[in-house]
């Protein structure tokens, strides 16, 4: 049949035996997601259908996370619009402040996504759930509105690039270094309109959190989706979190890929994206002295418990540099509680960092850590575009939690594998 994993999943959801690259299909979705920025636009579009009900109140997730807790009056109005809609249409999976978290950490944790699902979300990082063997992709508010009304979405069947992973990470290297390395290699439009399919024996050496981080940034290479095969690590995670029954899709042995890229995980170094595109990556020998003003550890990319543990390991017994504000944002309430119970907050606070409630906040220059003119941040987030975290003349350096924590201590961009970290 010559289909990739993504193509097989799409064919199944479109009720077809097979699909070909470039084919336009209408497919049934398993989950439709929106946040406080994208949902108000979608809700206005949804009204044009004149429906009294959504297609399935269990299959819609609404998460106020970007400018929530409400950052100003206008943001409060947007959250209110979404809250009212959730109430009026009896949306089961609406997550109020107190229950909410950053959407792409929250939904898998709550068991709302499983292997084999087709998920659309009005947020570009919806591609995160490819870590679980789902086809998930970011769309706009109009697609979200149609998804909520009809349970369907249109897709152009993508071609794929296969990333064959071998080997094992070295100390203090993780999923973020891997995906930044890949984006640096292929560029921000390196896989435009395509699937990134990850395969190979190296996958067994990636934790589920590594996979979330890698799939999360597929969009930063222009991809439609990033997807991992389902193995015991996936199934263990789904069993611990899942309410849904997983469906496993596998690529055909003779599946056609536009390209195969081989990556030995043991060769990956600490990797940082310099301003102002994620593909402007550099490894420690190219960094030079980059003095910083702020460190952000959190986001849908790196705000999970394992990320906080990695940061805590480096920050334990250390002091944040006096020129740096270090802001740590656990991605969900559950992660917050576990991090607190493990004693991670004591390490962070003793070091001089602050711990925020879950929010996307500073990642998109929303709130909770905006940069002034000329300021620089090392951040575990996913974009370093011009003005992304604040002033148009501020700078964002993307990194994993180990580099971010080591940099917070030094006051400049620092490799956790160098010196006395």
């Amino acid at each position: 049949m010559k289909m990739t994993m993504s193509q097989k999943l799409l064919a199944s959801k479109a009720g077809l035996d097979s699909v070909k690259p470039g084919q336009l299909i209408m497919a049934n979705v398993d989950l439709v997601l929106g946040n406080d920025i994208t949902s108000p636009v979608a809700i206005a579009e949804f009204a044009k259908f004149g429906r009294k009900e959504v297609f399935d109140k269990e299959k819609i997730a609404l998460v106020p996370d970007h400018f929530a807790p409400n950052k100003d009056i206008k943001a409060a109005e947007q959250c209110k619009c979404m809250r009212n809609f959730a109430h009026d249409y009896n949306i089961t999976n609406y997550f109020e402040v107190g229950k909410m978290g950053i959407e792409h950490a929250l939904l898998p944790e709550q068991g709302l996504v499983t292997a084999g699902d087709l998920v659309i979300g009005a947020d570009s990082h919806t591609c995160t759930y490819g870590a679980l063997g789902a086809f998930s992709t970011g769309v706009g508010s109009t697609d979200m509105a149609c998804g909520m009304a009809t349970g369907k979405a249109w897709f152009k069947v993508p071609t794929a690039v296969r990333f064959n992973l071998t080997g094992k990470f070295n100390e203090n290297i993780g999923g973020k270094d891997l995906i930044l390395h890949i984006i640096g290699m292929i560029g921000v439009d390196g896989v435009l309109y395509q699937s990134m399919e990850f395969t190979g024996p190296g996958i067994q050496n990636l934790t589920i959190d590594d996979r979330f981080t890698v799939a999360n940034m597929a969009i930063e290479a222009g991809a439609k989706n990033g997807i991992f095969p389902v193995d015991d690590i996936t199934l263990d995670y789904l069993k611990a979190h899942g309410k849904k029954v997983p469906q496993i899709f596998e690529a055909d042995e003779d599946a056609v890929y536009e390209k195969v890229i081989e990556i030995d995980l043991s060769t990956i170094k600490s990797t940082v994206s310099f301003p102002s595109l994620p593909d402007n990556t550099k490894t420690p020998e190219q960094w030079g002295l980059v003095k910083i003003d702020q460190v952000v550890i959190g986001s849908c990319t790196n705000g999970r418990l394992s990320d906080l543990r990695k940061a805590a390991k480096i920050l334990k017994g250390k002091t944040i540099n006096s020129n740096v504000r270090c802001i740590i944002l656990p991605a969900t309430q559950q992660i917050w509680k576990e991090a607190m119970n493990e004693g991670l907050f004591e390490i962070f606070i003793d070091a001089g960092a602050i711990v925020s409630t879950p929010t996307c906040g500073p990642c998109l220059g929303g709130h909770m850590g905006i940069l002034a003119e000329g300021e620089r941040a090392v951040s575990t987030t996913n974009r370093n575009f011009v003005g992304r975290m604040g002033h148009v003349k501020s700078e964002v350096y993307l990194a994993g939690p180990e580099v971010a924590a080591a940099s917070a201590v030094k006051g400049y961009l620092a490799d956790p594998n160098e010196g006395d970290n």
């Binding site: 947020d123 570009s124 706009g140 369907k152 921000v188 222009g222 220059g365």
Partner: protein, 164 residues
């Protein structure tokens, strides 16, 4: 249907954060968004843009977030068409879904300069640089996307179709 206007010219990887910065996304009112369109890379845009004008850019236009506010801000500014070498995929589908005409045409992008008078014929995909008197041919849309555009966007198409 035809569009005609002066060209605004941008480079590679124009992202949605510069098309409409997130600091303005606490509103979804089109006219408010349009007031800040492109301001982080071109502070003259909102002051000089006129109805019918055309944006011409290089590769990967609209990369970054899924915010539909980006094509909404561009459309509300009066821009009649965006021509680029390639578009980022979410921006591409959002533009079609809201009825902002976009065309991929590398030749045109290499041969149109800022301020050139440009005409676009959406039915034939013909792009003309009236200032330099050169014609280019863009890829026509697939039938399905033409139906979406003719219906006036995805919602109108789905409503008309009765979600069959």
């Amino acid at each position: 249907m035809k569009a005609k206007g002066k060209a605004y010219k941008y480079g590679n990887n124009v992202d949605t954060d510069v098309i409409i910065p997130a600091r303005y996304l606490n509103s979804s009112v089109a006219s408010e968004l349009a007031q800040h369109c492109m301001e982080d890379i071109d502070d003259t845009f909102t002051k000089t843009v006129e109805k019918g004008d055309i944006i011409v850019a290089d590769k990967n236009f609209g990369c970054g977030s899924s915010r539909e506010h980006a094509p909404i801000a561009i459309k509300e500014s009066g821009i009649s068409c965006v021509i680029a070498k390639t578009f980022a995929r979410i921006f591409y589908r959002n533009s079609i879904n809201i009825g902002l005409p976009i065309l991929e045409c590398p030749d045109a992008c290499d041969n149109i300069e800022k301020g050139d008078e440009v005409e676009v014929d959406f039915e034939t995909g013909k792009i003309t640089n009236l200032t330099k008197n050169i014609e280019f041919q863009a890829e026509p849309f697939p039938q399905f996307m033409q139906s979406l555009i003719e219906a006036g966007g995805l919602v109108a198409y789905m409503v008309k179709k009765g979600d069959k």
